[in-house]
């Protein structure tokens, strides 16, 4: 027997044992103590046994109490059903029961007027009952505030007025400071207590204090009226739990409050989770829903969304076609359709796939020009063309590989035959950029493009630049240098005169004057016109550049050659002694003299004995620095090189750094590696410079592991140089990183290796790297000169995905 049946049996037994009066008293006591179920059972038993009018009246009282208790518990349906049963069993009392039914229905529909009116006269137990119904069923505080059944100054009514006013205010605009103080007088037991918490939660929500909003929401009893807003508010705050938006009022509220963005943000959350999990189907579905919703946003929002999703899509290696279909579904959005290739181009470009990006840029440019989005001429199309030209890697082999040809001529033929796009010809792109906007930027790019390929073409472009911009120094200086390279020193000096007429004090103009005079002096020595050469050298001595570093020694060496060949050997020897004294390092003088002599095809007697280790190291560093600055070759005797490579100890960090540079300049990365190791061990202000030198040396290592080390060294060097405000080193590290990235082979297993390439190192990683490099004294094997070209293709997988993209775009257009 269940507990419930046992209890019933007990009450039935009690009814049988006791008399009617005791049973009636017992029923009334049970009702008073809130045990309506037991009271009803007992009253029904008594009525069954006696069938008396008193028992019938008692059972009706018990039924009324039970219905009241069900209503108080919010069980309206149960209360209505029970009331209907009473009406059937006691038709004479149907009217009395109808009142109960109506009250039940009214409360269920939110009409609490009758209940509120009862509050004015209700005794304490009934008042508590009514207040508990109000706590649960009050859906608008205005109903209580406006209840005429209660006196205007009734505490509950006046509190409800304050709540109603604050609820209207908090949902209509920002509340003034201190406005919430009106809620303080509402006690925790009041039926308005949940409303107090709701208003505080709303105020916190609108002040974007989400923590406070959630804390107040958490305190609202789950069975109270305001609790109906809890899931909505939680959703608005960003709770990931799904919200049932099939309810029209909820959907409308979310839409109104968030201006429609709540829905977008919900789908965005879903998309972010799907991308992180690589869940393509969910991600596509989210994108499909987001794109039309973004139509109301600024166009830049939609574009940022697209490039972000595209990049993440590529990183995750998902199939791009469904994504493109989702992004381009709205065919009416012509602007969006037109912009898609550009966004794709940017994505491919950022991923390091320059050739795919180039084709997509070409598609964008063609469409934009045709649609009039870009004008046919002017800076805009010129900049796009220059950008496209800038995508080409400096390594020509990579360009040929990308277009699957073996030579420039073959590429030209393929373009002419229509087998390759015209944009594959970088020179043609630059010429188009110049034609669209003949500004310095396009000319500069054209000259730089042709210089290593066709010097005459480069000069022709510089000449055209000069004609188009006669007051621009840049083409003049370029032409002067080109003339100098050709040995046309007279023309070079004439051009320099023109440049000086524009700006005499420009540092490059002044350097050019020095360089040209130096070249003139050297040429005259070769031609045997020694007097003129010495005159040139006299003029050079007066130039500011002659006073920097060891330049005087190079000029002195030239003067010595001129004197010696002019038959004045004694003067040359005296000059040599003077130079040795000024330099303070006979080995350095010997290196300079030897380099100058080698340039003129002279042989110098071996005058010096073996140099000390320190003197040899310092000499090599300084000589290399001097000749590199003057753009002249250095000749290093093998014995000296071997001596320096044996040990690099005992010199200053500055000399050690000069030695690092010398190693790179003379093609001895092993020397740079060893010298940089010494420098790293010293831990001084040149630490970043030594890391830079080591990175540059390791960039030419044979093993991939060492080339990876190079990249880390360069990244660390760039970071440390930035902190040391050494901007030259920052630029050098960036350039070296760019070169390393370009020459790096594509790993066929990874689609987008460049994404990882430029990740900066943390300070802990830099410290660890320096410690490792200090400890690593193993000299790596360095790659020898470049072997014959080996054609490489980018990964098949990448190709397939790109072809998918292009095929989809073609179909779309």
């Amino acid at each position: 027997m269940s507990k419930r049946d046992k209890r019933r049996a007990h009450h039935r037994g009690a009814a049988l044992l006791a008399g009617p009066d005791e049973t009636t008293a017992r029923v009334r006591a049970l009702i008073a103590s809130g045990k309506t179920r037991e009271a009803l059972e007992l009253a029904k038993q008594l009525f069954k046994e006696t069938r008396s009018a008193e028992a019938e009246a008692l059972v009706l009282v018990a039924y009324e109490a039970r219905v009241g208790a069900l209503l108080a518990a919010g069980q309206h349906q149960e209360a209505s059903a029970l009331a209907a049963v009473i009406g059937e069993r006691f038709p004479a009392h149907r009217a009395r029961i109808a009142t109960l039914v109506n009250r039940s229905r009214a409360i269920a529909s939110g009409d609490l007027r009758e209940l509120i009116a009862e509050l004015a006269t209700a005794a304490a137990p009934r008042r508590q009952e009514i207040e508990s119904v109000l706590t649960r069923e009050l859906r608008d505080p205005r109903m209580l505030a406006d209840a005429e059944g209660l006196a205007a100054d009734h505490p509950l009514r006046s509190a409800a007025r304050a709540v109603a006013e604050l609820f209207t205010a908090v949902t209509s605009g920002p509340l003034p400071d201190g406005a919430l103080a009106a809620l303080d007088r509402i006690s925790r037991r009041s039926p308005l207590s949940p409303w107090k918490l709701l208003i505080r939660a709303l105020d916190a929500y609108y002040h974007r204090d989400d923590g406070a909003a959630i804390a107040n929401l958490d305190a609202i009893p789950a069975d109270s009226g305001p609790a109906r807003l809890m899931p909505v508010l939680r959703h608005l705050i960003g709770d990931p739990a799904p919200l049932d938006q099939r309810s029209v009022p909820i959907a409308m509220l979310v839409k109104d409050v968030t201006a429609g963005r709540g829905v977008v943000r919900g789908h965005m959350r879903r998309l972010v989770r799907a991308l992180a999990a690589g869940d393509q189907a969910t991600a596509v579905s989210a994108v499909e829903r987001i794109v039309p919703l973004l139509a109301l946003e600024r166009s830049s929002v939609k574009r940022t969304f697209a490039v972000t999703v595209l990049e993440q899509w590529m990183r995750a290696g998902l199939n791009p076609t469904p994504l493109m279909q989702a992004l381009l579904r709205d065919r009416r959005d012509v602007e969006w359709q037109r912009d898609a290739p550009r966004l794709l181009a940017l994505t491919f470009e950022r991923a390091g796939f320059w050739d795919e990006a180039l084709l997509l840029w070409d598609a964008y440019l063609t469409t934009a020009l045709r649609a009039g989005v870009l004008p046919p001429t002017g800076p805009a199309p010129s900049r796009v063309l220059l950008h496209m030209a800038g995508l080409f890697p400096s390594d020509r082999d990579q360009v040929l590989d990308a277009f699957d040809v073996d030579s420039d001529d073959e590429l030209e033929e393929a373009i002419a035959a229509g087998e390759r796009p015209e944009c594959a010809d970088r020179g043609r792109l630059l010429a188009r950029a110049r034609d669209a906007d003949p500004g310095p930027r396009a000319y500069r790019a054209l000259v730089a493009h042709w210089e290593p390929r066709d010097a005459r073409r480069a000069e022709a472009e510089a000449e055209a630049w000069r004609r188009a911009h006669p007051h621009d120094l840049e083409p003049l200086l370029y032409l002067a240098r080109a003339a100098e390279r050709r040995g046309a020193h007279r023309s070079a000096l004439d051009l320099l005169d023109d440049a000086e007429a524009i700006n005499r004090v420009h540092p490059e103009v002044r350097q050019s004057r020095f360089r040209l005079l130096l070249a003139s002096a050297e040429r005259r020595i070769r031609e045997g016109r020694f007097a003129l050469a010495l005159a040139d050298l006299d003029r050079l001595d007066k130039e500011t550049a002659a006073t920097t570093g060891d330049t005087f020694a190079y000029l002195g060496a030239l003067r010595g050659v001129a004197m010696r060949r002019n038959g004045d050997g004694a003067a040359a020897l005296a000059l040599q002694e003077e130079l040795a004294a000024r330099l303070g390092n006979r080995t350095l003088l010997a290196l300079i003299l030897e380099s100058v002599a080698a340039a003129f095809g002279l042989e110098l007697p071996k005058a010096n004995g073996p140099a000390s280790q320190v003197e040899a190291i310092v000499a090599l560093g300084r000589a290399s620095e001097l000749l590199r600055a003057l753009e002249r070759p250095i000749t290093v005797p093998q014995a000296l090189l071997a001596q320096v490579e044996r040990d690099q100890g005992g010199v200053s960090p500055a000399d050690l750094h000069a030695l690092c540079e010398a190693g790179l300049a003379i093609g001895r990365p092993e020397l740079t590696y060893r010298a940089s190791g010494r420098g790293l061990a010293a831990d001084g202000p040149l630490l970043h410079r030594f890391l830079l030198a080591r990175g540059r040396a390791l960039a030419g290592a044979a093993a991939q592991r060492d080339r990876d080390r190079a990249q880390r060294c360069l990244l660390a060097a760039r970071d440390l140089a930035g902190r040391a405000r050494d901007m030259d080193a920052v630029s050098a590290a960036s350039a070296a990183l760019e070169t390393a990235a370009r020459s790096r082979e594509l790993d066929s297993l990874r689609m987008y290796p460049r994404f990882e390439a430029a990740t900066p190192l943390t300070q802990e990683e830099i410290a660890s790297l320096v410690a490792t490099e200090r400890a690593d004294d193993r000299v790596p094997r360095f790659a020898s000169a470049k072997s014959g070209r080996k054609r490489q293709r980018s990964s098949r997988r990448q190709r397939d995905l790109f072809d998918d993209f292009v095929a989809f775009l073609e179909k779309s257009s």
Binding site: T171, L229, I250, T258, R261, R350, A380, R383
Partner: protein, 95 residues
């Protein structure tokens, strides 16, 4: 951060409109009272102050965001819509 959005201008805005929007934004975030806001405004203005920069942003941008930042792409609007919409939910059928 999208500089056009910071200044509240269209991408097609001209120099004058950019300048007017910048001055208005500086009035809203003066450097002495809202240094962070002012810095954002200043950086946005520097990014779009002339046509060349605006063109570069339009054609060679935008930069992709971190995936989590997608949520910030669409601003979290919290509009005051009055009590009616809230009460409609409160009055709605719970079941």
């Amino acid at each position: 951060v999208n500089p056009f959005a910071v200044l509240g201008i269209e991408e097609t805005a001209g120099d004058d409109a950019v300048r007017v929007a910048y001055l208005a934004a500086v009035r809203r975030s003066p450097p002495d009272r809202d240094p962070d806001g002012f810095r954002r405004v200043r950086e946005a203005y520097e990014a779009v102050r002339d046509e060349e920069r605006r063109f570069a942003l339009r054609v060679f941008g935008p930069a992709p965001l971190d995936p989590e930042a997608l949520l910030d792409l669409v601003a979290d609007e919290r509009r005051h819509v009055g009590p009616a919409s809230w009460l409609a939910v409160l009055r709605g059928d719970r079941r």
